[in-house]
Symmetry: C2
Subunit: 251 residues, 2 copies
């Protein structure tokens, strides 16, 4: 049995607590939150604390707080020599205070509090100093089918890529929604296309999956679309993304 | 039984032929292709022709050719007074020669020849003059669960939105793939995130689903990412999309 303490109460922390408390071979001994209230729906009262001095001994401490707070929380821990990891995609392993053994346990996914998620599908990116990789792998395997060893530089690249394929993609959905709702068309109509576009690249390379007027260099349609978007706040994006697709094709 | 003739042999035409020949209540009487060879895997030889004068009488003629060829093909038809539709998202119903009864049968999806598709999930956008909507609806219902009445102006808006949520989204996948492969990280790692991002907006509004450093205005991460992308061909896109997300939030 691997004993775990989680520090944090945001989206990532809550999804992690939910996954770990159901995992076999894992015991969530305690969660730390500045407002214990925020975790009451996940854990019994005696397993939540707002006092760092009350943290029990555990095999691994997972700090899942905002990037800027990781350093301070790790420095405030009243013990040393134990395994402490953070869950950030951007921060290096050195963000953690060196008085403890350090690691990273980064789940690559987009989390919303209101949405259930199948943790077994989430890739976990692991980094550890020397002998601690085995514990990280054991915790990762207990909740997910996929984990990868990734040093801080690779993890940073992955996070940049994630911004493109998730945050920027969602912004494209926002733009599409805005265009259809301006014309009283239900967003529903776009949903199958959104899903199929994502499903396509599960088995095809993105460059091969590219379709549409930009890649065909269909000047008539591109001009009609620009004309249509005149004065829209998405006109500039249309222009720049069309050019970017065409530049990419030339490579 | 509704009899159908299809004109065209591209991605859209082929997927349509496949769906229609399996649909109950529909008879695909003939397909027209300049190179009959290209449809041999879909239909028996006697049902393919490269000669417009050999087209049999049918309840509906579906012209599924490139946008720029629609007008010419419709003008070349050696009959009048019959129902002729095109499958384009951008062209108006008036692109068709007025000697026949006109309509539009636009499937909103991204088609690739190599990829099987579940036609029942594809929204079909229908437009007809006067009394022909019933035939269009019957054909649509035979192959898909969803159809919408949409005039040429709405269809144009929908097509612009589709470029954002599909073509531009795929370009974001291309960018993500490029960033990870530059760092020897398998594209596999991004696939669950890509799927979840698309699945999220099946039940949430895109604006509510927005996450990431741009919407949080996490200046540290944004600066680190820009620094990371220096000299990359995606640096400018990162900058512009980040600004666009932040502008959107102010609305």
């Amino acid at each position: 049995m691997i004993s775990v303490v989680i520090l944090g109460s945001g989206n990532v922390a809550q999804h992690l607590i939910r996954a770990l408390k159901d995992a076999s071979g894992i015991a969530v001994k305690m969660a730390y939150a500045r407002t214990p209230q925020s975790l009451k729906h996940l854990l019994p009262d005696e397993n939540i604390t707002d006092d760092l001095s009350k943290l029990p001994e555990a095999d691994i401490y997972i700090i899942s707080v905002s990037d800027d707070a990781i350093h301070d929380v790790s420095t405030s821990l009243p013990f040393s020599g134990r395994l402490v990891v953070h869950t950030s995609g951007t921060k290096s392993i050195e963000e953690l205070d060196a008085k403890n053994r350090r690691g990273v346990f980064y789940p690559l996914q987009t989390f919303s509090k209101s949405r259930e998620i199948d943790y077994s599908q989430i890739p976990l990116c692991l980094e550890a100093e020397e002998n601690d990789m085995k514990i990280l792998e054991a915790v990762a395997s207990a909740i997910s089918k996929n984990h990868y060893h990734m040093d801080s530089q690779k993890r940073k690249a992955l996070h940049v890529a994630a911004v493109f394929v998730s945050n920027f993609v969602n912004h494209m959905y926002v733009a599409g929604e805005s265009v259809v709702s301006d014309h009283d068309i239900p967003f529903e109509v776009l949903k199958p296309l959104i899903l199929e576009t994502a499903q396509k690249v599960q088995s095809m390379e993105p460059a091969q999956a590219q379709t549409g007027p930009s890649i065909r260099n269909d000047q008539g349609t591109i001009a009609a679309h620009k004309d249509f978007l005149q004065n829209s706040r998405f006109a500039e994006l249309y222009e720049i993304l069309t050019k970017s697709i065409q530049n990419e094709q030339k490579l």
